[in-house]
Amino acid sequence: MYRYRSYIWLFLIALSAQLFILNNLSLSIWLRPMIFSAAVLLLPVEWRTVWVLVTAAAAGWTLDMATGCQGLYTASLLPLAMVRGAIVRLTANRSVEPSDQTEVLVSLSRKQLFIYLAAGIVLHHAMFFFLETMSFTFFWQTAGRIFAGSALALALVWPGAAWFMSNESSGQ
C-alpha cells in the first residue's frame, strides 16, 4: 500500500523548491537545474500511466501558471511521465507490470536508481531546453546546458531521492 501522504509532500517540496528557490537563482546560463521532474520519476512505477500523466500535467500546469511559461513545463514533463516505465526497463533491466505487489523503485539498487534518475532527468532537460530554443542551430550550446543543468539537478535530487526511497523501503 502506497503512502500517498509522503508522495504528496514529495511533490509539494519539489515544486516549491523549483518555484521559489531554483527559478529565482541566476547561477549561470549553463546552470538551470529542474528538480521537479524527480517528483514524477519517483512516483511508483506500478501506478497506472493515466494517473501519472494527470499528475505530471497538474504539476506542469502549476509551474506554467506560476512562471508564465504557457505550456513549456507541461509539454516537457508529459513525455517523461509517458516513458517512465521504459526508462526503468532500459536502465534497471526490470519489467514493470500493473499487478506488481512490490514497488519496483524501492527494490532497485542504489546504482540502478541513480542511473534511472539520471536518465529521466537528462531526458526531461533535453525536452525542456530544445522546446525552449525550438532550434538545432545552437545544438552544442543547448547540449551543454542540458548536461550542466542535469548534473546539478541530479546532485541536488540524489540525496533526497536516496533518503526517500530508503524511507519507503523501511515503511513497506
Binding site: C69, Q70, G71
Partner: protein
Amino acid sequence: MYRLFEFIKRTYVVLLFLLLEAVALNRYASSTAYTQAKILSRTSAVTGAVDGAVSSVKHYFSLSEENRLLTRRLAMTEARLAAMRESEQGAAMLSIDDLLLPDTLVPEWSQYQFHTARVVASSTDRPRNFVVLNRGIADGIREDMAVVTPDMKLVGYIVSCSERYSVVLPLLNTTFRTGGRLASGNHYGSISWDGLSPYRITLGELSKYADIDRGVPVMVYSERFPEGILVGYVEEYALNSAQTAYTATVSVAADMSSLYNVIIIENTHYGEIEALIDDADKRF
C-alpha cells in the same frame, strides 16, 4: 461503434498523452512571437515540402496533356512555315524592308519607285545577253527603268516591255553603256563589256587625274540609277596610248549567273531629264 470503443479503451493512455501534449504545445507555441515564428517556419517548411511533392505528382500526370498541346503547336508551326516557304517561292515579291538599303541612299529614294520582280530567263554566255523578268506594262514597268540585285548591285536596265514581261539589257551585253564613277572620287567614265569574260567589264575614258587603285569600288553614274549602286571593283588599270585617260578592268559585283529576285527602280524624274537633254541637243 463497438470496435471504436475497443480501440479507444486500448489506446486511451496514448490518446490522453497526445491530447495533453498537444494542448500544452499549442499554448506554448502561441505564447510569444518567437515561438509563433518558429512554429510557423517549421510548419511552412513541412507544408511547403508536402505541397511541392503533391505539385510534382500533379505535374507528372499533366505531362501527357502538355505533350499533346506541344505536339499540336508544333504541327501548327510546321504548317505556317510550309505556307511561308510556298509564298516566298511563288510570289517572288520582296519586301522593301528585306533590301537592306544603305542609310545614305534613303534621302535619294524619294524620287524613285520600287518594284520587285523575278528572273524568268537569262544568259551570260553570249555577246548579247538578255534577262527576262516576270513584270510588264501591267505592273507599271517601263523602258529605261534600272534593275539591281536585292543588295543593290547593278544588273542593267529595261529596254523592252510586254504586258506581263520585260527584257533587261544587262551589263553583260556588248551594247550596254552606262556611266561609272570611282568611289574614291568624282571622276567618271564609261562602262562597257567586251563580250569575253562574264566576270569582268571595262571602265574606260576615266580621267588620268582620277584617284584610281586596285580594289576601289566602282559605282553607277547615271540618271537611271540612284546613288550608291555598286558595279564592281577595279582589278587592273592603265593609261591609254595617248596618256590622256585610264582604262580599268572591273570585276562584276553581281553574280549574273544566279540572278533570281531583282528590284526594278523607276526614276520619276528621268523623263524630265531626258527631255531637257534632247532640247539642249537640238538647240546647241
